[in-house]
Amino acid sequence: MSDTLLSTHGLVARYGDFQALYGIDFEIGHGEVVALIGANGAGKSTLLKSIMGLLRVAPDMVRLEGRPVGGHRPNRMVASGVAIVPEGRRLFAGMSVLDNLKVAIDHAAAPKGTPWTLERVYDLFPILRDKQAVPVQSLSGGQQQMVAIARALLNQPRLLLCDEISLGLAPKVVREIYQSIPSISSGGTAIVLVEQDVGLARSSSDRLYCMLEGRVSLTGVSAQISREAIGEAYFGGVHAVA
């Protein structure tokens, strides 16, 4: 595929003696939205961490537009145009919303296409405009998630990795946050959505990967995969139904 943005090739990752990923082949094209689903411990977050350079992987296992980038430090991945909304948001406590965002602006990649500005992220999440000067720890969970997404966007990514952005949020807030996904990808940014909610993952993505115990158990076009196929890939082929 000539328009592949990022791909992994037989990616293996381990935490000490524990092997978490067994040869993952994954790819995402420019501007594509790909969902990554699977049970807890299936290796979804580990895959994102390996791509971002938080875990040691061989150079050839991760390619960005064909160039080997496996094992590049996180700050180098950001400079190459890959940003992440980390699991649990991980905002900079003690700093204001604006200062959190400015850290990303200070260390942004060279923008391709229309650059993200403070104005644009405030249009995406209007509540943040009023909360600029507020320390991030005093925001609600949903607002904190918006700051985390805005912060990643201001890194000017070509590829945005979102790790469980709906976790622990009220359904109304989840909808609000997921409404921002089309406007992000319409600007040409490719998005990987790690998501627990299978329905949400399917409806908001072009393609999906299902992971099971460190391997890809299913992949295909989101709209064409049946619920049964997902159920089987999610829990494993031979599982007892109580």
Binding site: P86, R90, A109
Partner: protein, 285 residues
């Protein structure tokens, strides 16, 4: 009058303590790195300054420029070679690594400079003073206080409003998240340690002009710096400045109560504040 004089002299002494404390406020207060060599590095800079001043007959102000530059280089090396290997959520490894380095530095300095006390010739400046009624205020201590205030303001503004300051605060809050936002945490820490030790270059010159230095003196500067940072509140740069003032005034008043009581008075006030307001004067939570 004796007490007014005590307070004024204490504030002036606090100016010197603030110069010890600023680097500590940055490293311990913001970055949570315990650097036991803090005082020894200041002594190393001071002794080096005294030696180059007599070797090349430099004025104290030229020595100041040289020591600030040398301090920045030493800080960069300290962070790159030692502290970046032990940095993390746990302050214990940095404590043990720098404790070892502190012992080695003191012994190395004894070898090179012997145990003699030395000082930097300040010309007429050491004796010059302003007179207000019966109150005498030394010119040099006033210069020290003004310098300390300017350094505090500059450092505080750097942390608040610059790219470097934001990166350092982000890395201190969550080092992994900072890296995921594009910050190079090791570079940010190396820069901050360079700044912290460069500020000790100021302290080294003024300490050796105002008083004397000897290789084993570093422990005093270390403990005063720690106390000032904790009295002021972790993470607050102006807090460390006011903490240094509290320490200076306590010691100065203590000396007037009894000449042997001064240093102890400072420690007692420190313990009192630790008991009554453990978060420090300007600390938040």
């Amino acid at each position: 009058m004796q007490w007014l004089d005590g307070i004024v002299q204490g504030i002036l002494l606090g100016g010197l303590y603030a110069q010890y404390a600023l680097g500590m406020a940055l490293m311990f207060g913001v970055m949570r790195i315990v650097n036991i060599t803090h005082g020894d590095l200041m002594i190393l800079l001071a002794l080096t300054g005294i030696s180059i001043a007599s070797a090349f007959s430099l004025s104290p102000w030229s020595v100041l420029v040289a020591l600030v530059a040398l301090g920045a280089i030493l800080g960069l090396l300290l962070q790159r070679l030692i502290l970046n290997r032990v940095v993390g959520a746990d302050p214990l490894p940095s404590l043990i690594a720098t404790f070892g380095l502190s012992v080695a530095l003191q012994n190395a300095m004894l070898q090179v400079w012997s145990a003699d006390t030395r000082s930097l010739h300040a010309g007429g400046l050491a004796q010059a003073s302003y007179q207000f009624g019966t109150l005498y205020v030394g010119v040099l201590p006033v210069i020290v206080l003004v310098t300390a205030t300017a350094l505090t303001g500059g450092l505080d503004a750097t942390l608040r409003y610059t790219r470097f300051g934001r990166a350092l605060r982000a890395a201190s809050a969550d080092v992994e998240a900072a890296a995921l936002t594009g910050v190079d945490p090791k570079a940010a820490y190396a820069g901050a340690t360079a700044v912290a030790v460069a500020i000790l270059g100021f302290a080294a010159v003024f300490q050796s002009m105002r008083a004397t230095v000897a290789p084993a003196d570093g422990a005093f500067q270390l403990i005063y710096a720690f106390e000032a940072v904790i009295i002021g509140g972790m993470g607050s740069i102006w807090g460390a400045f006011f903490g240094a003032m509290v320490l200076g005034v306590s010691q100065s008043i203590g000396f007037r109560i009894d000449p042997g009581f001064g240093i102890l008075a400072g420690h007692l006030v420190f313990l009192l504040i630790l008991a009554l307001r453990p978060q420090g004067l300007l600390g938040k939570d």
